[in-house]
Symmetry: C2
Subunit: 330 residues, 2 copies
Amino acid sequence: MRALVLTGKNEPLILQEKSDLTPGEGEVIIRVHAAALNHRDVWIQKGQYAGLKYPITPGSDGSGVVVNDPTGTFTGKEVIVNPAIHWGGALSHQDPKDFRILGLPDDGTFAEFVKVPLQNIVERPAHLSFEEAAALPLAGVTAFRSVSTRARVQSGEKVLITGIGGGVALFALQYAIALGARVYVTSGSGEKIEKAIALGALGGANYRTDSWGQSLQQLAGSFDVIIDGAAGDGMDELLNLATPGGRVVFYGATRGNPSAVTARRIFWKQLNILGSTMGSPEDFHSMTAFVRQHTIHPVIDKIFPFAEGEAAMRRMDDAHQFGKIVIRVQ
Amino acid sequence: MRALVLTGKNEPLILQEKSDLTPGEGEVIIRVHAAALNHRDVWIQKGQYAGLKYPITPGSDGSGVVVNDPTGTFTGKEVIVNPAIHWGGALSHQDPKDFRILGLPDDGTFAEFVKVPLQNIVERPAHLSFEEAAALPLAGVTAFRSVSTRARVQSGEKVLITGIGGGVALFALQYAIALGARVYVTSGSGEKIEKAIALGALGGANYRTDSWGQSLQQLAGSFDVIIDGAAGDGMDELLNLATPGGRVVFYGATRGNPSAVTARRIFWKQLNILGSTMGSPEDFHSMTAFVRQHTIHPVIDKIFPFAEGEAAMRRMDDAHQFGKIVIRVQ
């Protein structure tokens, strides 16, 4: 079979011939139709991720057809892959020891075939193409856990979603709108804010301006819920923008650690600062049911052919995308 | 009537003759038997509190007898005062506009008589002396909201309570033990840790040592719940000590803002960082019911006579106390 491979740190993603896969106990083989990128793949390429190993076929997101299920039950089924492997038994958090995300250390979806645990396949939502279905898993479940399981967004609430354009942020926008919330966004690009408004956001502010916090206050007052994957120096302003009793969910820290946090805001405003990452199997199943119920279509930025995996990685690294970057495998 | 009065910033608390009180619409007058101090009173004396005004009779905590209730319903009742005035209609947070704490801007309990809204009196738990009852309200409700309403401590959980010796921390210790938790503490004093162990804590660490975090890890591993009123540079270590999916409640920030927060800990460990301050009327009633049910007696550090209010303030400012500092008014 052919697969896209990272052979070392800062090496390009190249197409290679690899040996065929054999399912182990409780595993199935999927013929991949489409895969999608996440920032994680680029960090692995750059050597900026825990537990690095090379060569590795990255890719956490994929859709396809089960071609080898030793139990016979799922062979021929069209599926998407839940990339959260060995979440563990708790709803509140992933297993600190055994949890891993498909695509490192296990070879991922940027290949003609991928091997995953049987419990990590979920039927493809019928309203989605293989490309759309491939775009859903990692970002879709991360957004769902943040918006629904953690923040418990309610109809009519004001929600701020930062960094719109990224996969998780866009799913969070779509889910929050589907839940009846009034949604605002931030981005470093005015064009992305306009695109978010076209998707149903009520307004936004450019975080590259000094007054982005004030702009949002003028637009919307304060926010019942804030969904952020950046942290960094914007974090304290987000605590300022949260309404008393509000929920601020952090699902990542792409901008690193904050240099200042005003502790008084946390206790005096009775804030709920909620960390979230990936999602439990229950989150994944609830998410796909929600996407079906609301016929949500993932926003796709661009679809690359299989041989152009490296170009897809550069597109992700440039951060100019609006939506998921997909690789059509076959 | 006589009252203890702060006449200006950094002035001592002095006993003065003041005019008698008249209840307004929906208010009652209480003859104060005992009052208790909170750090807030010392901050007001030092001019370090929002909305300062002098002269002021401080004091948020008090117990006594209703002597003038225009409705006639409560006259003669032995009561404690709920110092949270105009909490507002939400359980999740106090009213941002009208909420205030008894003792500033309204004259407080360090007086022979105090005037409070009718809904702020609660029957004195019968197992408590007037001095014990006076020690309960502010710290008691702050601890109850933190431990029960916010952190929802469960039987068998490991709980860390920082800064033991302070009023809120000691109530948190008593409540968490009553709930069946395994409780550990920190303090800047080995003697206070020993006293906490005598009250039922399983162990503790001195936060003045560099290795306090490691010591706690060796003692207990990690903590399901952490209750802290200090924030400051210990905050990041508390996030490190929290178990994945754990709850970290901040009810204050006596050590100011943290100079560093490791954002990754928040999302990867799926933490719940929960701000808490004071408590709703529901919290107050649940707290007094809980204190009755478990026959909890507040830990009292020292009882001062009415004329020695200033000595009581200095005792609070020294931070050598273990438990509540009480003033016996009559």
